[in-house]
Symmetry: none
Subunit: 232 residues, 2 copies
């Protein structure tokens, strides 16, 4: 995070391919890490905290999909953008890959050009903010580093989606957002879920925050929701 250049971890068991990718990315101004299997990759993730991962579908031992799932499951790495690489003909796995948490999907062979373009796109999409500071309002504290929420020092137990929702709200206070906007911002642009789903998660979040903070998330009838410290 020190320099402007983002760090990309390349995970593929074939060294020449890694090399080719690395060269392309370095020419585009990225730092590169390389790993041949999931174990090494995991070490790199822990040690160097890359900004994104290029992950081959086929890996010796733990497969790419499996590894992606694992990363998405752990809180510290859940937000790490992943682009899946796959050989031609395996396109049917696309859905599976995306469902495993991949943010994009590239079919080999691909041009360096394409790679860089998609990588940029994903980074742009997934790095709206780099909030390292805890956010506090009332007795409510959201700590992005610890990935935890506390209300008056009491831990609040919420699911990943509610966490992201709350984080979005705490970084976008006072303004009203439509359900569609929230789906876009919190769920991610490419999913399709019912707008009413937002209501349910709002409900869960309100419930989890308890009555002490219930008023923080306000309903804007006919429009959507708003996070505000001011009374309605």
């Amino acid at each position: 995070m020190s320099k402007s250049g983002k760090t990309v971890l390349i995970v593929d068991d074939e060294a020449p391919i890694r090399e080719m990718i690395a060269v392309a990315l370095e020419m585009a101004g990225y730092e590169c890490l390389e790993a041949a299997n999931a174990q090494d990759a995991h070490s790199h993730v822990v040690d160097h905290k890359p900004d994104m991962i290029l992950l081959d579908w086929m890996l010796p031992g733990t497969s790419g999909v499996e590894f992606a799932r694992r990363l998405k499951r752990e809180e510290l790495t859940a937000e790490l953008p992943i682009i899946m690489l796959t050989a031609k003909g395996e396109e049917d796995n696309k859905v599976q890959g995306l469902e495993a948490g991949a943010d994009d999907y590239i079919t080999k062979p691909f041009s360096p050009r394409e790679l860089v373009a998609r990588l940029k796109a994903v980074l742009r999409r997934t790095t709206p903010q780099g909030i390292e500071e805890p956010i506090e309002v009332g007795g409510l504290v959201l700590d992005p580093v610890c990935h935890r929420v506390t209300s008056f020092d009491v831990p609040v137990d919420i699911g990943p989606t509610e966490y992201r929702l709350l984080q979005f709200f705490m970084t976008h206070q006072e303004r009203a957002y439509s359900r569609a906007q929230l789906l876009d911002q919190v769920w991610g642009g490419n999913v399709y879920v019912e707008e009413r789903t937002v209501d349910v998660h709002i409900r869960r979040l309100r419930k989890a925050l308890g009555q002490a903070h219930e008023h923080l998330i306000q309903t804007v009838r006919g429009t959507g929701y708003r996070f505000s410290t001011k009374a309605s």
Copy 2:
């Protein structure tokens, strides 16, 4: 929900496909225009100024990419969002499409659901949304971003219709409007409601604003209403 009233131009050389898309979009509340080639499309763009374009990759004559580039080059149309449509197997062209200025890219076949979802996402992303300034008069503040009205920092509780009514008035001060004009502007042209309904909403709005601002909305007997800061 969304009476967005946005207009979408569908450009594809196959009429059945155009038709299918048009039906899907119309069910979602969009207006549709259709064109079979780049020439017709361009006329439509000039004549009807659509809010976005669905552009098939393959077109007789000028190709989709070419057309997209042309649109992006001209100043008047440079901001027009474009979604590219492409048949399966042409995925390699994706980068080229995006570089030509397309805002998104959908592979045929696609579900109407997906189409509408992506379309919404693109429109949301490309619609300049945040530049709306709060309007202030006296101690009365209407903030479109927060979707909130305050009178001397005290929140004013009004329904959606009163909100829209007030917003219209605050952006059209000093002039008298007939009930018919207000129905047109605030309710939307094609609804049928009694003109007296306006009176009721005016009343509700006056009441909500309180005595401090009651004089702002003036009755113009025999004509309609007027929003004015000057005393009558």
